[in-house]
Amino acid sequence: MQRFLSPLILALVALGVWLLADSNFVLRIATLVFIFGVAAIGLNVLVGDAGQVSLGHAGFLGIGAYATAVGPAALGVHPLLAGAAGVVIAGALAFAVGRPVLRLKGHALAVATLGLGILIFMVLTNEAWLTGGPDGMRVARAEVFGVRLRGAALWFIISSVVLVLAALVAETLKASPTGRALRALHDSEVAAATAGIDVAAYKTVAFVVAAVYGAIAGVMLALFEGFVTPDVAGFLTSIELVTMVVLGGMGSVLGAVAGAAILTALPQLLTIFQEYEHMMLGLVMMVVMIALRRGIVPSLVALWPQRRGLKR
């Protein structure tokens, strides 16, 4: 049962971090890793499985995050309800934009998705009456059954649970007719179509799944940080998300989380290099890509002795 393996590993990793963490600082970093891990797992469905690039994916995180912030502030709805609405809006936008945009390939697709991301970023920045503009806005603390959703320990648990569920759903999808259709059109669109797969529809499915995962990550980020700025939807965040997927390993759920860990946690470790911190991060990324070109997790798994006749 391959599909339960990566959720199980992630659950054990979360448990290990929980037992070994000696400070709230560690739990906070781990929480950020898990939140971006959810976004990266989703983006991996689009990039790693279906083979379609998106350079504007942070836009969907922005929609989730700002729905969570704006909903309670402007309409007085519960933050979680507002967050759920944000997830639905992100999915609907991806569905509407998916078909025309995903007809494009390669560089044209990259530029079109980049444009989508910039568009969302500009709306969040310019509509200051609603979003607080470039300075961002506070997020009301969510309260569920009298429990305020705050504190490092609680958010570590919430993000761990969401990450494990996100991995389980992604693995289930991967080993299903839909997941196979996505991987098939990645390798050959014409052969996929010949097998009866509606290529345009399935690309849109991947785009919507990735958008929903991104928006869920955005909702968690807003509630966890208690503050949102347009940077969550910015170009740099989009690039970081794609880097997480490629660095960790295209098509690998664990790889996406490993990529999220490197891009989120490594800068914290590299602060010992002080002003050379960003140079070191760049160097690590280059060396990893050169040494492990299929990404960290798939390359390491390939080093393992081949297991033949793997039952699924």
Partner: protein, 253 residues
């Protein structure tokens, strides 16, 4: 009624008529071969018949239904499948998964059911995997189910494409140069497979350069030259046709 019939089919690329008024029929339970010199328009004809190109004129019918200009997935739904001259294997998947993609149309679709890890999905996957193994055995690839497609030898990849096409449960199968690049043993194995599939009732249309294979497996041979049909008949009859000989030898007819 012919399984597959092509009437007056034409396509032009930038004023050049690559296929010009081609008509022929392919019967169920028979192998119809399309031969001709390089550039005669064989693959272009295939691409129109399988919905990859939209013809500029003429008609393609599948069991009497007009299917001209339908996209490949529409044709797959109506029982037409194909393989490709340049391999279009899903190299990132195992052999079994390649064939399971072929069963896409018969699988229970709907993304919702593929998101939740429920026993019904696991059972369906197991059944689909078993069906794929059976189809692999059908084309002579038993025991290769869990190998990555990228690790299979060339001849086996040709068989894998046929297994994937068969998994869709087609009534008509287009094979585009199945023996190209294969050695003698692989070609012999493919010839036997093609003949067997026709004997099982499939309508097979074959584009092939290997004349020995064409003469051995075909019931009928259609000869194309410069986008037109120059001969159509039984293999022996076509082989003796002077127009065919001159087309192949490059003479002025």
């Amino acid at each position: 009624m012919a399984a597959l019939s092509v009437e007056n089919l034409s396509i032009a690329f930038g004023g050049i008529r690559a296929v010009d008024g081609v008509s022929f029929e392919a019967a169920a339970g028979a192998v119809t071969a399309i031969i001709g010199p390089n550039g005669a328009g064989k693959t272009t004809l295939f691409n129109m018949m399988s919905g990859v190109y939209r013809p500029t004129g003429g008609r393609v019918s599948l069991f009497g239904e007009d299917v001209t200009g339908l996209p490949p997935q529409g044709l797959a739904l109506r029982g037409l499948s194909r393989t490709f001259q340049n391999l279009q294997v899903f190299f990132r998947m195992s052999a079994a998964e390649n064939v399971m993609v072929g069963t896409h149309l018969s699988a229970r679709r709907g993304v919702w059911r593929h998101l939740l890890p429920l026993p019904a999905l696991f059972r369906a996957e197991r059944a689909s995997y078993d069906a794929a193994c059976a189809e692999l055995a059908h084309v002579g690839l038993e025991g290769e189910a869990d190998r990555p497609a990228g690790a299979l030898p060339y001849g086996s990849l040709k068989q894998l494409e046929i297994a994937r096409a068969l998994a869709a449960g087609p009534k008509a199968l287009l094979l585009d140069e199945p023996a190209a690049g294969c050695n003698g043993a692989e070609t012999a194995r493919l010839s036997a497979l093609v003949r067997r599939l026709a004997d099982e009732g499939l309508a097979i249309v074959l584009v092939e350069h290997d004349m020995a294979m064409v003469m051995r497996v075909s019931d009928r041979v259609v000869v194309l030259d410069q986008g037109r049909v120059i001969a159509d008949g039984a293999p022996a009859q076509v082989r003796a046709d002077p127009a065919v000989r001159s087309a192949y030898l490059g003479g002025t007819s």
